[in-house]
Subunit: 227 residues, 2 copies
DNA sequence: CGGCATCCATTTTGATACTG
DNA sequence: CAGTATCAAAATGGATGCCG
């Protein structure tokens, strides 16, 4: 089971040797919002078979990017989490997401799957450090039965799967409305027109509207104008 | 020749649908420093056959990330260049490179190829905006017979293959010394101990030493301590 | 040199059946 | 659930030959 490599003494190539194979970066993406169980990972990655998933996880583990853990009680079920090295792939994945938001996101295609966590990642990708200056708050996002929270601390942001302990503000949306966010609709807009319902600290909610300015999507090709 | 896709309505997945296949991101990396000819591309990507290279280029072209051009006289030979969308993958590739510099670069392995351009990319990846505040200068880097230049403009940097029109300062190194840069040796250090020879504006050269602080490489795994 | 076509050995993957 | 085993379908790597 030799590992295939580009055999280049180059930081980018070395990185791609580790995480450039099919599914690997998406697997890391799933783990970026916290530990996940084998089955949940597979659910987030339709098309990835159990065999390949197991192999990828083993590789990430062997290379020190992920580790197998046991969820705290009462769950006590096995799960996978990122190591420090794995976490630090976050900026690279967010950079890819930022590019995609601008150059590759148009309407959802008929057979594309969607999970709210991906939209959260999209939000995180266009997080505006400047706009968050001096802000220290925890937002909770509820989308159907999925819950996430974002902890913002003066220019830094951390997004995790699961409820917050003591959120300063809560945003509740239908998955459909949430979908609009990835499609290019700004979060502030959705709050204003009521497709998102909010509660919590007024000032914290006011700040929220400016935290995630989405880039204007642009077509890469001339023939992309027709939608 | 159907395009394989993850079928996820997610900015990261959509991006990887376009550039996530083997070789594609490295191909973009090669083009990041300026247009390149078919043969030069292949030279930079040992192991990639002409057939697959042609296919990848065609895909990038079809997707609006690259375009086929003709080099200006006297060359007049066909070449490939990035479009605006392609250029904007730069930040994502640099993020991967930054990760690699910290977590994946150790000594050069016996059969790894190396090109000075990759080291330049490494420099660009750890470019320190703050340290470049107020600086406006063009540096030329000469490594054996390869020449690059970096145009720095108050926090922004652009690195291109080829000589500069009117460099403010020039750095000359052997490929061996240049290799040290990727290996974790700071550029400032190399200048001080004389393995890089420099000429040009004194002040501009002084600033250079702080522009590219390399991250301390860290092992991902416990068993990586032994070298 | 630039670039496509073809053939073939080897890997990688996708899908599914199966076990603790 | 978590994960292994198995097999068919793609993707890749390498060699080569061809043509402008």
């Amino acid at each position: 089971m030799e590992q295939r490599t580009y055999n280049q003494y180059c930081a980018t190539a070395r990185t791609l040797d580790l995480v450039g194979e099919r599914w690997t970066l998406l697997l890391v993406r799933e783990l970026l919002t916290g530990p996940k169980r084998f089955g949940d990972l597979q659910a987030g990655l339709r098309g990835l078979g159990t065999g390949l998933l197991a192999a990828r996880l083993k590789l990430l583990e062997r290379e020190g990017l992920a580790r197998r853990t046991v969820l705290p009680p009462p769950a006590r079920t096995p799960a996978y989490a990122l190591t420090e090295a794995g976490e630090e792939l976050g900026p690279a994945i967010l950079a890819l997401a930022r590019w995609g938001l601008k150059w590759a996101m148009d309407e959802r295609r008929p057979d594309e799957t969607f999970h709210p966590g991906w939209a959260l990642l999209g939000l995180q990708a266009c997080f505006d450090q400047e706009a968050a200056a001096g802000l220290r708050a925890v937002y909770e996002f509820r989308v159907d039965d999925e819950v996430f929270h974002a902890r913002i601390d003066d220019g830094a942001i951390e997004v995790l799967h699961g409820p917050a302990q003591r959120p300063d503000a809560t945003v509740t949306m239908s998955e459909e409305a949430f979908l609009g966010l990835v499609g290019g609709r700004a979060l502030g807009q959705a709050i204003e027109d009521g497709s998102a319902s909010v509660s919590g600290d007024e000032e914290v909610l006011r700040r929220l509207k400016d935290l995630f300015p989405l880039p204007a999507p642009r077509p890469r090709r001339a023939d992309d104008q027709a939608g």
